[in-house]
């Protein structure tokens, strides 16, 4: 039990070089599969421990907390760990077939190794309680995701990866500056000690300028990483041209982890009710609303459906940030809950894209003609994922929208409620385009061969997500309970 926090990170980290050692794609895949399922098991154990016993901390090398690096798992960490390891455990069974046609044989062990390193980085960010360690893990996950995106089948993947590298590095450098300034103020890097020192030394109440600068850098850097609206430019290309598996994994986890970091720094470190937080809420409210509207409208006009879903991701990130910008208990709960629900629905929708490109070869809107008959299971999964994205009752998406509207009602922000509902309406439009083409348009006349249903290894992870989308739309106790606990921790940090 004691070693669980470090086991969470070390399992995929050790599995990554093993993948390279054997140089066989089958062995590499098996190792990666075992590692992700093991780490999923660990994160379930951690979540059980956190909810029943309480937070768990682990000092690396036995050095006590403010001096050594300590891993600290509370409800929020456990929640994010569950999202990341759960999605990677679902993506790996899916990966085998999908990777086989998108990436050439000799590169496949490298692919799995990079994927494991990326998982390590994301899990590390969520597990560590040390600010600098968080930066290192962030760079670990980012560097491997640049390489993963660059492995995409089309040459545009390379320029997309390069663009992401430039913007991601600028974001990471901003985060580094922010952490450095915080360190110069407090002399500590431990997240909990940071929060404590800021209060003990009266730095918070004195409207310290260095602190203001530090949080400005952190917020902008993290906004770049999580693709908040005006800083989202890297995201559409990266998601569109990356290999299907990478898109599924990154869309479901990477931006969520960046949002977790934002929550940690802005709520966990500076705490609730301070000047910074009040201004932060106002500053990120406008980009969040703009993201919901602009990205949804742009999504309607996309012909490449993977790109359409990428824009929809930007809009969904807007919902999460909107929840956070309320800075109330309900708002935060909604934002954190939506991290989980969005991982479920976007993971599912991108899995459908992977299956379509597996059978048809590309995912332009015209390729969907008649797919409703040829790939009934895949396309009905798309319909359910789409319903969840719109926020139809009995799906996971409804729950997070419900809490968002509830939070806006508590603040009495009617205009925001209208915008939330408008965003859902726009989602109906862009999802309907695909559904209409797939089910109601006749297929191409010059059909050479019958492309059948996607193979079972793609359908099973896809349909487990379909079931998860419906299950968590009806029985919300697990994500909601964890999200409420996490919110209580964040709000009680002052």
């Amino acid at each position: 039990m004691i070693h669980l926090p470090i086991a969470q990170v070390i399992i995929p980290l050790l599995a990554a070089p093993l993948c390279l050692l054997f140089r066989s794609k089958h062995v590499a895949w098996t190792i990666a599969l075992c590692a992700t399922w093991l780490s999923f098991g660990v994160s379930i154990l951690l979540a059980i421990h956190v909810t029943t016993v309480g937070p768990l901390s682990y000092n690396i090398g036995g050095w006590p907390a403010p001096w050594g690096i300590s891993y600290y798992i509370d409800a929020l960490n456990a929640f994010v760990l569950l999202i990341v390891s759960g999605m990677s455990a679902l993506v790996l069974p899916y990966a085998k077939k999908s990777v086989e046609i998108e990436i050439d044989d000799p590169s496949q062990p490298y692919f799995y190794s990079l994927l494991l390193i990326c998982i390590t980085g994301l899990l590390g960010i969520a597990a560590t309680g040390d600010a600098f360690n968080m930066y290192v893990f962030l760079e670990l996950s980012s560097l491997s995701s640049y390489a993963l995106i660059g492995m995409g089948p089309r040459r545009r993947a390379l320029t997309a990866a390069y663009q992401y590298l430039i913007m991601g590095t600028i974001g990471a450098t901003f985060i580094l500056i922010g952490i450095g300034l915080l360190y110069s103020l407090t002399g500590t890097l431990n997240i909990h000690d940071l929060a404590l020192q800021l209060r003990v030394n009266d730095i918070l109440s004195s409207e310290n300028r260095t602190l203001l600068t530090a949080f400005a850098f952190l917020t902008v850097g993290l906004s770049l990483k999580l693709a908040l609206f005006p800083l989202h430019l890297w995201l559409p290309n990266a998601y569109t041209y990356a290999p299907s598996v990478v898109t599924i994994f990154l869309a479901a986890t990477a931006t969520k982890v960046a949002i977790y970091m934002l929550l940690r720094f802005c709520f966990g470190v500076i705490g609730n009710g301070t000047v910074f937080q009040m201004t932060l809420g106002k500053i990120i409210l406008i980009p969040a609303l703009a993201a919901i509207l602009v990205a949804s409208i742009v999504a309607i006009f996309q012909y490449d459906i993977k790109r359409m879903l990428a824009y929809s991701s930007i809009a969904q990130i807007g919902y999460m940030i909107l929840g956070i910008s309320f800075a109330t208990t309900t708002g935060l709960t909604a934002g954190i809950l939506h991290m989980f629900n969005h991982a479920l629905m976007k993971g599912l929708l991108f899995m459908v894209m992977g299956a379509v490109s597996y059978r048809v070869g590309s995912v332009y809107i015209n390729d969907f003609r008649g797919l409703g008959r040829k790939m009934p299971w895949t396309m009905s999964a798309f319909v359910i994922g789409g319903l969840s994205l719109m926020g139809v009752p009995m799906t996971a998406g409804f729950i997070s929208k419900w809490y968002l509207v509830k939070a806006a009602l508590e603040n009495g922000w009617w205009d925001v409620i209208i915008l939330i509902l408008l965003g859902s309406l726009l989602a109906v439009v862009y999802i309907w385009r695909v559904v209409e083409t797939a089910f109601f348009n006749p297929s191409h006349e010059h059909e050479e061969e019958e492309s059948g249903e996607a193979p079972l290894s793609l359908l099973i992870p896809m349909w487990s997500l379909v079931i998860a989308n419906i299950y968590f739309g009806i029985d919300t106790s697990l994500p909601l309970g964890l999200a409420q606990q996490a919110t209580a921790i964040l709000m009680g940090a002052n």
């Binding site: 600098f132 930066y135 290192v136 760079e139 560097l143 640049y146 390489a147 660059g150 040459r155 545009r156 390379l158 320029t159 990866a161 390069y162 590298l165 430039i166 590095t169 600028i170 990471a172 450098t173 580094l176 500056i177 450095g180 360190y183 110069s184």
Partner: protein, 123 residues
């Protein structure tokens, strides 16, 4: 406010802004990477400056320092260690960036951003 005394910080800010400008304004992928390197190097300077105290020595406990009555002033070694890690991260980023540039050059035959865009649009 001691403006001149903070020359290290001015240096860091100058490097940061010039690096950032190069990243934004240049279309050549290699030049962009050089700018990115200057940009992230400025942060190393910022960190090192934070740890340094005027007239302080390295934090090593010697017999001579134990004998003197006046307390010795030490520089903080932690920022140096942190920056060692950040340098490694920077080198790795540059390596990935250069590798991508090589691949872009192989597939596109150019590393100028506007030419790449023109080739993409012509398809």
């Amino acid at each position: 406010m001691n403006w001149v005394g903070h020359y290290n910080y001015w240096g860091a800010i100058f490097l940061m802004m010039s690096g950032f400008y190069v990243v934004i304004s240049r279309g050549n992928l290699i030049k962009k990477l050089i700018g990115l390197n200057i940009f992230s190097t400025s942060v190393f300077l910022l960190y090192i400056t934070m740890g340094k105290i005027k007239g302080a020595t390295a934090p090593i406990l010697t017999e001579a320092s134990q004998l003197t009555a006046s307390p010795q002033i030490y520089s903080n070694p932690l920022p140096h260690v942190l920056i060692l890690t950040a340098i490694v991260v920077g080198v790795a980023t540059t390596a990935v960036g250069l590798a991508l540039t090589v691949r872009i050059n192989e597939r596109y035959g150019t590393i100028e951003e506007d030419e790449i865009r023109a080739k993409d649009d012509s398809l």
